[in-house]
Symmetry: C2
Subunit: 534 residues, 2 copies
Amino acid sequence: MAAGLPGVRLGLSTVRWLQSQSSSHLAVIAGGFPVMPGIISGLASRKQIRLIHVAGDRSDPAHGTVQRLPFATISQQDLEFFKQLLPGRTITDPDLLESCNTDWIKSVKGSSEVLLRPQSTQEVSQILRYCNERRLAVNPQGGNTGLVGGSVPVFDEIILSTALMNRVLSFDHVSGILTCQAGCVLENLSNYLEERGFIMPLDLGSKGSCHIGGNVATNAGGLRLLRYGSLRNTVLGLEAVLADGKVLNCLVALRKDNTGYDLKQLFIGSEGTLGVITAISILCPHKPNAVNVAFLGCSSFQQLLETFQCCRGMLGEILSAFEFLDASSMKLLEKYLKLVNPITESPFYIVIETAGSNAAHDEEKLHSFLETAMSSSLVTDGTVATEESKIKALWAMRERIPEALRHDGYNYKYDISLPVEKIYQLVTDMREHLGDRAKNVIGYGHIGDGNVHLNVTSPTKDPALLAAIEPFVYEWTARFRGSISAEHGLGLKKKNYIHFSKPPEAVAIMGNIKSMLDPRGILNPYKTLPDCLR
Amino acid sequence: MAAGLPGVRLGLSTVRWLQSQSSSHLAVIAGGFPVMPGIISGLASRKQIRLIHVAGDRSDPAHGTVQRLPFATISQQDLEFFKQLLPGRTITDPDLLESCNTDWIKSVKGSSEVLLRPQSTQEVSQILRYCNERRLAVNPQGGNTGLVGGSVPVFDEIILSTALMNRVLSFDHVSGILTCQAGCVLENLSNYLEERGFIMPLDLGSKGSCHIGGNVATNAGGLRLLRYGSLRNTVLGLEAVLADGKVLNCLVALRKDNTGYDLKQLFIGSEGTLGVITAISILCPHKPNAVNVAFLGCSSFQQLLETFQCCRGMLGEILSAFEFLDASSMKLLEKYLKLVNPITESPFYIVIETAGSNAAHDEEKLHSFLETAMSSSLVTDGTVATEESKIKALWAMRERIPEALRHDGYNYKYDISLPVEKIYQLVTDMREHLGDRAKNVIGYGHIGDGNVHLNVTSPTKDPALLAAIEPFVYEWTARFRGSISAEHGLGLKKKNYIHFSKPPEAVAIMGNIKSMLDPRGILNPYKTLPDCLR
């Protein structure tokens, strides 16, 4: 480390973590010995769960700190290497670095002082080979739209952005297989495909910013999963650069390939901790000829569930989304975004989308479903849109909730998978549990996937409130064998809660896979895997 | 090893391999140095591909032999242990062992002298813990319907059958999630679900025998993949016993779970080499209200492809299968099974299935598609079935081809994935390449998935014919970046050809994963991974 290098500070040892964490590692105290809890199914009672501190944190019992691992710090010589490799694309300007160091919900902030913007797989390979030799930690970054602190540095990790790797490599209009670099923005890919009569198999609220590489690295779910399945099915091939710079080229464009273990699955959902995804191939469905959206009101969650059952039976293969929001979500949309509730006030609202090949058939199915739902009083009120602007307006009622939430104060966000009949009980129980301590407790999400987004707001960051939410929310989820992260991943914020959803044997294997593929641990350190594995 | 133990022979050192292999390991000779070929994309010409022998085989240049690895042989004491653990379910009767030692196409045969039939995960765990300590090799076996020699022992591996692990553990009619033991027969699960208004997301010709655990272990594709996606999407949870007996319980019943690396994907398609799958949970679609099957004739493969494009556009979301067979396949059906071609003779035949929620809508879509296809001369003749018996009769034209093939003599079977427009060119080129040397060269398969089943028959086993087929077929496939095993897996027969579809970096990682999860190599040895990794 050269003395006096502008913008590069030394000796960083704790992270400025905007959302303090009440705990970092969880263990079950059984018979006086701490044991990892696994899926908790074997516990006699939740009261057996107690929190302890992370091993590496024992010397510093304060919450909200993480110890920097002994990576090298960037030197003048390192910077010279990068500048030569990526002329004009090695960024050290603190103003430019500010946004890459902070996540979009402004809950975590790193202190990286170098941002690298490679354009090719070869450049990514050269960067990683160098960093691995020097033991410089690297934070791969796509559109930086993650919600669990996975996409920004924790300390001074070098930020490796895929933003300039944004080329479509090929599109086969017979098979519908798109091959592209990792930094393509999801919405750009959607537009590219729609011009050719196809669509992307996933759609997210953050589509205007998120990169497809980041989507794959986090196994993003989103609004179309109900219809087109997860990325584990639609991603057909993948190219990744490993920690030592080796390029793993599994970028096939085939629907089926059973030649050995499916390594690409390791990288899907690994949040940049096993390799940097540089390109993907993905199976894209035909653009539907007809799309309809219905916005409905229900007087209870039970009626909402019955509506879902009825809807699946009657809309069958044309159902492409079944989303919900509660009355509290609607109030935030009205208050902060001035959106107008298109139907009469209800405890629950549903957004149903159909997508099909024959407009007349789809309309007939939808109307027949709506007639049944209204006449049997499953649904209290509703409106249907077929033209694009009205469809967008109805979708906004679901897609803009995170934006409304940000206006309501500090957000504690949870992304929980549960058996579908349980998902709203979590919101109700949390509301009761927190009482006046929370400003708002709201629930919305993907009924079709059994996935609720539980959000708790408060005027400002509130450690006491957080302590009331966690581990309550995780224990509740584990009790019903749910997942503490349905689609957001673990990142920095949730990694130490992995034991609520995965047994210790699984976590141990994950640690071994990490050691195997990234023995020096340079790739997105402090993320995904719990501290106890270090 | 106790002397005189009935039915247990010692010193097995070569396998009786009914289908001799012309080569075991492939390398590209480039500049005089052997280099693994990877995806071959960088090759100047196919002529650079040359065959060399497996490292471990150099001392024995004869084709068709595999060296037994230094596992322990089963002793009287071992047998006592198993008999105590599995009373009445530890089988040593040679007559009973015969069928478990031979694959169903009678192409490979092992010499195992013990068959274990556990009923529970706990029993599987105890068996594996014991075998791992003793270093006894184990061959996990489901319905033994595999086509690549993956499901039978190569030498004296202990056969661990899942046949008695055949209980449905739970079914949730709201979510459609089925949880069951690995030994459930696919057809039994289908019947169980159909009574409850659901179907399995996969369907195979071998459904009457194959086990769901084997389906998952081989990542089986089948007839519904086009519509419901692969098992990587529909298998939601999985329980596996590792080589050392540890139980890895990832048996969640959730549509979404992003908590760490998705370990279940490692076991899907790993052919029993990483663990024994003991239970799975799987997402099952609603049973469609209406099913139609059309059987059509096309005068060229180009017209068949155009019919596919037209069909996808017009049938859209109700299309559930698009399969094809060639005229040579039809001749075998007529000759050996006395099936009657329901339409006029054509060079190509298509089986189209629709499955939807509204019979009237589906019929309208299908008729409108057929009108277009007939009037534009894409299709020369056709028939449609809506009632179950006629549907079955039409499906038989596609499903019974493997049976007809067996009557035609010895079968050389290839299961190739390619860009869809190339798949029949492989059949034509192979026919031309082999000339009179083959009795028949036929092609059929899954157009919708870009997957052709190429079969070459000869009156008897014919090493010279095999030498003409391989590596020609693999080189051809690699040239178009296809997969040498779309859905059958690699097993024993194809493992040494993995390099035609996977780069050396990927194969090396697979080897590391195997070493990590099964350090003593007891699980299904000699399968999936190439000999050069040993």
